[in-house]
């Protein structure tokens, strides 16, 4: 077996090593499993690993012959249903749950021959921006273990950044892929609403949730997106990608019109984030893009609209966790008491908070003032983007206003935690795709550049992201892990 490190290893390179027979699928999977065994006790990116199952799947690909990405490992956020394999969504209320079915994206990964390394940690029911709301304890950021990896897909992001998986899948409802990608120096895509099936994905807010990939490069993100994006009749909101996915090759941005919504950058943005952002914008110009300015005048209401719509939909989606069909039950004298006790014991504080906001916003007498009004704001934000895209091909924004924050910094202040999503959630409200790529570091921590495009413009985002990624030349291996070999 060749000496190699899983750190910084892309899926593309891993597939090339398998193609050249420098490694077997089993050796590749074993290298990741060794790395997980060594580093994950401290990092806690994974909630569930089953080395024997992983190695057995890898050996099947060695025996049966392989092509494409077959035999390349992957990590899955713990809200994708995996048949016979624990799926908790980071919640006590699903402790011990073993789905009897695979989610659509899980099936598609299996059909492509990807080998699952395990299920990754997350904020409970994807509600959070730090993984501190996981019922099973937080994940640490591979760049600095005193800071959060972002969330809710923090485990999937940290696993890729730390070389515990070459790529992974997460979900993004208000920024839960792009924000952890930015915090961990990885690339993350929130696809257009409807591009990827949500069949077998634990639901949070159904008009916002979307499945997407994490990887070390834009090309790997495009390749994994190509594997999972498809039309699936089992998800009635799903239409699949509008065109065949093109893995980006070009290194310039000639002919592209990009815009910076300057009105969004006026308050609360970290100085280091702004510096890296202006450098990235200047690079886009030097690569041949025409870069102008636009405004998103109603985006300032996005946070309020989001924090009504998402909890309202969550309060309905989470009604199913009642101690009857799955999960643990806390007994009571009658069925109402049993429901209340089970849900009291099963849900953590952030989930309770959002169920309560949502139930309140949907209750008689408040529906129009809150949920109805939030849906009207949503229309205004969509129109803002429509106006911008009449003149421009894509928008550039920082992914987050700050780099990764320290554990506990925002835990007792829900509004401060929610404000971290201010640049990511407008794309969810409008159903648009957003790609986050690393644009350098601020105080030694990675920061992300977000590229937002019109619905189903993923190929354009990949082209812009790839050219900028090449020009920025970011090294995705955290300095504190450099020199470590598996």
């Amino acid at each position: 077996m060749a000496t190699f490190s899983t750190l910084g290893l892309t899926a593309e390179r891993a597939a090339a090593l398998l193609d050249a027979r420098e490694l077997s699928c089993e050796e590749l999977a074993a290298a990741y499993l060794e790395r997980i065994a060594a580093d994950d006790p401290a990092l806690h990116a994974f909630l569930h690993v089953d080395p024997e199952r992983t190695l057995e799947a890898a050996r099947r690909h060695d025996a049966s012959g392989r092509s494409g990405f077959a035999g390349v490992p992957i990590a899955l956020k713990d809200l994708f249903c995996t048949r016979g394999v624990p799926t908790t969504a980071g919640s006590r209320i699903l402790e011990g749950y073993r789905p009897v079915h695979d989610g659509d994206v899980v099936e598609r990964c299996q059909d492509a021959g990807l080998v699952s390394l395990g299920k990754t940690n997350m904020d409970e029911f994807a509600m959070g921006s730090s993984t501190e709301h996981s019922a099973y304890g937080p994940t640490r950021n591979p760049w600095d273990p005193e800071t959060v990896p972002g969330g809710s897909s923090g485990g999937s992001a940290a696993a890729v950044a730390a070389g515990l998986a070459p790529w992974s899948l997460g979900t993004d409802t208000g920024g839960s892929i792009r924000q952890p990608a930015a915090f961990t120096g990885t690339v993350g895509l929130k696809p257009t609403y409807g591009a990827v099936s949500r069949y077998g994905v634990v639901a949070f807010a159904s008009s916002l949730d979307q499945v997407g990939p994490f990887a070390l490069t834009v090309r790997d993100v495009a390749a994994l997106y190509a594997i999972v994006a498809a039309d699936d009749p089992r998800d009635t909101t799903n239409v699949g990608p509008a065109e065949a996915v093109v893995r980006p090759e070009g290194e310039d941005l000639r002919g592209l019109r990009l815009a910076v919504p300057r009105d969004q950058l006026t308050v609360g943005v970290d100085a280091g984030v702004l510096e890296r952002f202006e450098e990235a914008v200047a690079l886009a110009v030097s690569l041949g893009a025409e870069v102008g300015e636009c405004t998103l005048p109603h985006a300032s209401h996005g946070l309020a609209a989001y924090y009504l719509i998402a909890p309202a939909e969550a309060s309905a989606n989470l009604a199913r966790y009642d101690g009857v069909r799955y999960g643990p039950r806390t007994d009571g004298p009658d069925v109402q008491a049993m429901y209340e006790a089970t849900r009291h014991d099963g849900f953590g504080p952030e989930v309770k908070r959002r169920i309560m906001i949502g139930a309140y916003a949907l209750s008689a007498g408040y529906y129009d003032a809150y949920y109805g009004q939030a849906q009207r704001v949503r229309t205004l934000i969509r129109r803002d983007f429509d106006v911008a895209f009449a003149d421009y091909d894509a928008l550039l924004l920082p992914t987050t206003p700050t780099p990764a924050f320290r554990f506990g910094a925002k835990l007792d202040d829900p509004l401060a935690m929610y404000a971290n999503d201010v640049f990511t959630l407008p794309a969810n409200l409008a159903g648009l795709p957003g790609l986050s790529i690393p644009m350098g570091t601020s105080d030694g921590l990675p920061v992300g550049l977000q590229i937002v495009g019109p619905a189903f413009s993923e190929n354009r985002l990949f082209a812009v992201g790839h050219a900028l990624e090449r020009a920025i030349g970011f090294d995705p291996v955290p300095p504190r892990l450099q020199g470590v070999t598996s």
Binding site: H301, A304, D331, A341, Y360, Y370, R376, T379
Partner: protein, 95 residues
């Protein structure tokens, strides 16, 4: 925009969510502060703006009315905390 203890208990009842007294108190303060923030949009005059319930312009489709395989009873009961031979056992309703 402070929520009363009675309102918190009413909403918790609607959501079938049991709360301890200290949780009622804490959630009352937290929800009041969050609602004060988000209720800024209630003041906007948006009567002429249609709501967006869904980001895609979807039209309804009907599935073919053909029988398909579904979960077996055994599979459906596999994760139940208190399965009965042909169903889910629950405490008495409305005791």
């Amino acid at each position: 925009m402070a929520l009363t203890e009675q309102e918190i208990r009413h909403v918790a009842r609607l959501a079938r969510l049991g709360l301890r007294d200290d949780e009622v108190e804490r959630l009352g303060a937290e929800l009041s502060s969050i609602l004060a923030h988000v209720s800024a949009i209630s003041a906007l005059d948006l009567d002429d703006v249609p709501p967006t319930s869904h980001p895609l312009d979807l039209t309804n489709v009907l599935a073919d009315d053909e029988p398909r395989p579904c979960l077996s009873t055994e599979e459906a009961l596999l994760n139940a905390p208190d399965p009965a031979p042909e169903g889910f056992r629950v405490p008495p309703i409305g005791a």
